[in-house]
Symmetry: C2
Subunit: 211 residues, 2 copies
């Protein structure tokens, strides 16, 4: 599998492809042409062929793509067969919303538990897991070789908590705090969810339309 020189834009489109292929597969569709796939996703067929060519060949000229095989390949490329482990840091409303609505297992992630600094929340239940005391976080990360921490703590504590996570050996932070975290050149991967960026894009589209 070729993996070199994959642009950020292609990477960001892969989850969309995966979602669409999942849908097609559930609808019992076995093969799809780049033309039809493009049509359903608002992309040109050549764009789709180009995207997939980054990773090798998935289709056969004139036969279209095998939906399940393509789904499997993209899932592998995205690391969904690596069974990465995930913990949640901070069990406020957002933490609860994430854990209760998001199916980590469906995407091949192992959710291991949640940590909280507020003593009154330690021991409460979140999606069947008992919330653990943040004091035990460092040992837990080391003992379980945790891959990903979901950061959902109040903004003023974001960088300090991220620092302790990085010191504990976490490999990636999924950041919901809306603070631009500094990885201090540690190589820890930080992926941000910026709600505002999405709303501002919507605002732009609405603004242009109204002219």
């Amino acid at each position: 599998m070729k993996k070199s020189y994959i642009s950020n834009n292609v990477i960001r489109r892969l989850p969309r492809y995966l979602r669409k292929l999942d849908e097609l597969s559930k609808d019992g569709i076995e093969r799809i042409s780049s033309g039809e796939l493009g049509n359903q996703m608002g992309l040109t067929p050549s764009q789709i062929r180009q995207d997939f060519s980054c990773f090798g060949e998935f289709g056969q000229q004139g036969y279209g793509y095998n939906v399940r095989a393509l789904h499997r390949e993209i899932a592998t490329i995205l690391g969904l067969r690596r069974s990465f482990s995930v913990i949640l840091i901070g069990v406020g409303n957002l933490g609860h919303a994430l854990i209760e609505n998001f199916s980590f297992r469906q995407f091949g992630f192992r959710f291991l538990g949640a940590f909280e600094i507020r003593k009154d929340l330690v021991g409460t239940d979140i999606a069947g897991y008992s919330v653990m005391d943040a004091a035990g976080q460092d040992a837990f990360i080391k003992d379980n070789d945790v891959d990903i921490a979901i950061l959902s703590v109040p903004r003023p504590r974001a960088q300090a908590v991220a620092d302790t996570l990085m010191e504990s050996g976490i490999k990636a932070i999924w950041n919901f705090t809306d603070v631009e975290l500094d990885a201090h050149g540690s190589g820890v991967i930080i992926e941000n969810i910026h709600f505002a960026d999405s709303l501002l894009t919507l605002s732009y589209l609405l603004s242009v339309e109204g002219e």
Copy 2:
């Protein structure tokens, strides 16, 4: 101001520029070169010059960009001076997290209130607003000419609720349900927050790094 032929990628970068300029402004920085801005944002200077050239000229050769003027221009382009009105549909954990953590006013939006179908939640408080009965939603949207609805209802109800919103004349839906909504060719703008897409991107980066 030129607005034609702006690519989706440029539009998606504008909120990031806005965030960075906001930060620079708060730090008391009045001017910045495309080189320094690019350095801080992980973009090339020519990329930055090209992005801004889509909208006209913000900088002066050799003097860099005026931070506040550039911020003002981008905010205007993004429609943040249009004072769009926003309502929330569904006050579960995610709805609460959004309303409590997100400063609509800071971005120039007017938050008007929240609606809920569960009678036991009607009348409860969300960020100082009394939750309204979903039965009154249609009339409220029409009376107040509401622009944007934040959709944060359980997945099985997502499309049905979106349909009623579109019939009521809503102009845009900020969709947190992880369901691909059908706008039925209505022209209603739908902007999706797909948490999974972000986590899968992180998974990809983690996966590649481990090789």
